[in-house]
């Protein structure tokens, strides 16, 4: 049986370079989870709908389930693990816990990615801005209210 043809690329994830040999059709999500071993990023719908797979590509949120891994070479990829240095909690992570915005937790990594991108471009969002910013992230547990509160609490803390 012939081996599937692979392409060698280097992916820069959370500031580290990872050389990987992957098939052309592989999505970025699968390579991050399997080859690179960072499993914070989740596979939900695998259809660009739910946002569980969200990562930052050059600072912009992107659904990694529907982005070709080979196409991400040379770009800065940030996963939920890279929001903060090891062992420290990002203010968004702390606040989403304290506000009760986590139940099953499956959507949380994607929510954090979208929320961090939102706050980096809009440090003082309205509730409506937050809801639009998180509109690509589905949560089946919380009803969103506590997630919005966590984002707003983070924004308020940052403003002092």
């Amino acid at each position: 049986m012939s081996q599937p043809e692979t392409i060698s690329v280097v992916l820069r994830v959370n500031g580290f370079d990872y050389p990987v040999a992957i098939e052309q059709g592989r999505n970025l999500l699968g390579v991050i989870r399997t080859e690179i071993g960072l499993t914070g990023t989740k596979e939900g719908c695998d259809d660009c709908e739910c946002g569980a797979c969200m990562v930052l590509l050059d600072g912009q949120p992107v659904n990694s389930c529907s982005f070709l891994a080979v196409q991400a070479q040379g770009r800065a990829i940030t996963t939920v693990e890279g929001l903060m240095p090891a062992d420290e909690m990002h203010p968004l992570q702390r606040n989403i816990l304290e506000e009760g915005g986590v139940q099953c937790g499956f959507c949380t990594p994607g929510m954090l990615i979208s929320a961090s991108a939102l706050l980096s471009r809009n440090p003082a969002p309205t509730d409506e801005d937050v809801r639009i910013g998180l509109s690509g992230n589905l949560c089946r547990c919380t009803g969103y209210t506590k997630i919005v509160a966590a984002v707003q609490r983070t924004a308020a803390e940052h403003r002092g």
Binding site: G51, Q60, E128
Partner: protein, 295 residues
């Protein structure tokens, strides 16, 4: 199997002439391949790093939008959200922030979905598509491009490099509205765009209306003439419902689509007229007029 990252249009055109297919954001191509709609092409050229295709140029004769300009770029662009507001209404409704970050105008146009949100605005704005290949360049009206659902008249070696919009006439503007069941990650149930020009007395002197998700392609409503805003809106609504040829599927029945596309067409005419009269209605119109608005 091959994968190539192009940095210039010429590199991309060379790859296309050798049989590669282009990928920009991948949101149609990769999802489609996984659904078995069409397998991922064996030879791919990534075009998303061709800087010259990411630009919006404002010229005396209108605006030239590079094929790689994203929906996010459009919904934030000062000129496009004001003078070409109908297009920005459409782009601002596409998917979610993450889809709008990767989804490009060129990809939307060439994917040729009859439900595409930028389609009917581009049609009423008189858009032309610029296609390039190593054999040369051609420009064609956007209605000529779309030949069926997911089909265009572009040759396999042709790349959409830009969309050209003529300068709007004085006292004119546009609007796009869609019926949606939820506020985000939605595909138009039906939609309608209108572009109108107002006469000095406030009546409509010129009008174009196009319809989304009610035919195999985006279609333009024919036979509309000027008149008072109320009369033109009513005529557009009636003509839209009459000329639509919708299907029934899991999202809506043909009867429901036929009725609601008329409602959308009438409201799009009224909103375009308000904008043409100088009123600032923010993008996307859907939120401003209450469809999907936070209650």
């Amino acid at each position: 199997m091959s994968f190539f990252i192009a940095h210039t249009v010429h590199d991309a055109l060379t790859a296309l002439s050798d049989g590669a297919r282009p990928v920009a954001g991948g949101s149609d191509l990769v999802v489609g391949a996984r659904h078995g709609k069409a397998p991922l092409p064996p030879h791919l050229v990534a075009i998303d790093r061709i800087a010259e295709l990411r630009e919006v140029h404002h010229t005396d004769s209108g605006v030239i939008i590079g094929a790689l300009v994203t929906h996010h770029d459009i919904e934030m662009h000062a000129l496009l959200t004001t003078s070409y507001a109908g297009l920005a209404d459409g782009s601002a409704l596409v998917g979610s922030p993450s889809t709008r970050n990767v989804g490009t105008l060129g990809g939307n146009v060439m994917n040729a979905s009859p439900a595409m949100d930028t389609g009917s605005p581009l049609l009423v704005l008189g858009a032309e598509v610029e296609l390039q290949s190593l054999r040369g360049t051609r420009r064609l009206g956007i209605a000529e491009l779309w030949t069926g659902p997911g089909r265009t008249c572009a040759e396999p070696d042709e790349l959409c490099v830009a969309v050209h919009l003529p300068a709007p006439a004085p006292n004119s503007n546009s609007a796009y509205l869609r019926l949606e069941y939820r506020r985000a990650m939605e595909i138009a149930v039906v939609g309608a765009a209108a572009a109108v020009t107002l006469a000095a007395d406030g009546s409509i002197s010129a009008v174009r209306v196009a319809l989304t998700a009610v035919a195999p392609t985006i279609i333009e409503v024919v036979g509309l003439v000027g008149g008072t805003v109320a009369d033109v809106a009513a005529a557009a609504a009636a003509a839209a419902s009459e000329q639509a040829t919708p299907i029934s599927d899991q999202r809506a029945s043909d009867r429901y689509r036929r009725h609601t596309v008329g409602v959308m067409a009438g409201r799009a005419v009224q909103a375009a007229a308000r904008r043409a009269g100088g009123e600032m209605i923010p993008v996307p119109l859907n939120r401003a007029v209450g469809i999907g608005a936070a209650s």
